[in-house]
């Protein structure tokens, strides 16, 4: 299996995203930015998009594959929907390439609140995003 490699959580941090998003005045700009983030997230290799890696959402599908190197967690992550993929990039900026302890102490609700995208984390949206966040948090608990 190839190693997951992506800029989010590495060269692009959650703080970078917050600073970028602060520039935008309209929802169109914010969403275009999120969609562009999704395009920067490398696609997960097709052979990894298996049932076991599928985080089921009612409206869109999300795949997640974690790799723990003994120190940090890194992720392959993908979605069939652009905006969800962009939001996954946002989640990755906080969680990817981080230690389990750093993941545990990161306040994701606060972060999403700051970028005005909290509603996408709502369980009613059925996009699988909350399930991904929970899955990563429980992985962090396991490896901590």
């Amino acid at each position: 299996m190839s190693e997951p490699s992506q800029p989010f959580g590495d060269t692009i941090t959650s703080q970078d995203l917050l600073e970028d998003l602060a520039f935008f005045d309209t929802w169109e700009e914010r969403y275009k930015y999120i969609i562009d983030l999704g395009k920067q997230l490398p696609s997960m290799p097709e052979e990894l998009k298996t049932e076991e890696r599928l985080v089921r959402g009612c409206q869109s599908q999300v795949w997640l594959e974690p790799v723990f190197d003994g120190q940090n967690l890194r992720f392959w992550v993908d979605s069939d929907a652009f905006i969800v993929k962009g939001l996954l990039a946002v989640v990755m900026s906080a969680y990817n390439h981080q230690s389990p302890g750093a993941i545990q102490s990161f306040d994701i609700e606060h972060f999403f609140g700051q970028i005005d995208l909290l509603k996408h984390l709502s369980p009613t949206r059925g996009n699988g995003l909350r399930a991904v966040v929970k899955r990563i948090q429980s992985l962090a608990d396991t490896y901590a």
Partner: protein, 417 residues
Amino acid sequence: MNTSTTASAPTTPFDVERIREDFPILKRQIDAQPLVYLDNGATTQKPQSVLDAIEHYYQHYNSNVHRGAHCLSDEATHAFEQAREKVRAFLNARHAHEIIWTKGTTESINLVAASFGKAEVQAGDNVVISAMEHHSNIVPWQMLCEQAGAELRIAPVNAKGELVFDGYSALLDSRTRLVAMAHVSNALGTINPVKKIVEAAQAVGAKVLLDGAQAVSHWPTDVQALDCDFYVFSSHKLFGPTGVGILYGKEALLNTMPPYQFGGEMIEHVSFKRTLFNQLPYKFEAGTPNIAGAIGLGAAIDYLSTLESTAVMAHEAELIKYAHERAIAFDGLTIVGEAEQKTSVLSFLIDGTHPHDVGTLLDQMGVAVRTGHHCAMPIMEQFGIPGTVRASFSFYNTLDEVDALFTGLEKVRSMLL
């Protein structure tokens, strides 16, 4: 809409702006833009009169029905039974006791599966449904057939989203106990030829359940003319409150069916040796019912009776025709479900986009649609798609709102592609 209930004289001609005044939620703003509510297939909005009826019940005569030795209980019982009578008239059923209160279409179907199904469907029998059913009209039958050792047969649907009638009738035989089919497909809007479906089933001695959840808000329903054995629908898709549904069943059939749940209300006499069950309809209504919900549905039916049904249908026909025209002219849009007989649903995909992205961006513009598989995964699978964007219309929608949808879609396309 049904005009046989008691209410004020019809207001003609159809004035959609006047009618919108009756629905307070339609004045809502979403992010400082007017709400464009095109998710009527999921649930319909409620007129003020329905909200008032529910509030009035709780403020003035809230009490339990059929048991109190006091004025409030008498009033509540009267209103509750009057609501049942309104549903009877709405469906043109023969008797009020053929109307069973449930909590929704899903429970109505489960009731029939658990009661009629368990008693009548044996090993070697079969139940026939179609490939376009909602999960609620698939899974109860799947479970029943699994438990009984019966066969679940799936009537085919063609590429336009229409029932293949010959394919359906070929599935019927002397061991077919029940045919369960949607009157209107929730995902595609296809109107099924229910009268012919019933006739073919009855020719082999099978009973028929029609799922009217997506049909009742669009035209008057006459269960005697259809001659179906069961007809089910939900109040909340008929401008009434959530948590209330209807099971209509023919009296003779309901009388032979065993109770579904056990408890209060449904019994006539209980001793530790033996329990006698109550008569219809109470036999199937264990526990305190959703009294406010039933009264609310009654008020919704009263409201509909103030509208001229032919004018309502003409307006809805105009909406869906215009929506289709705009859809066909929209580059890269594929309509999913192109049945000749179709009601107020426009299900579609836009090349290169995911339905969820389309729905999310439309929401930013105040346009409410549903995206996904619409709880009809088998038909989505047959079409080889993950789901669709579904705009579903009601009589309070306007041609301007159809324009708002397509203006929104232009923007969506420019953002996603």
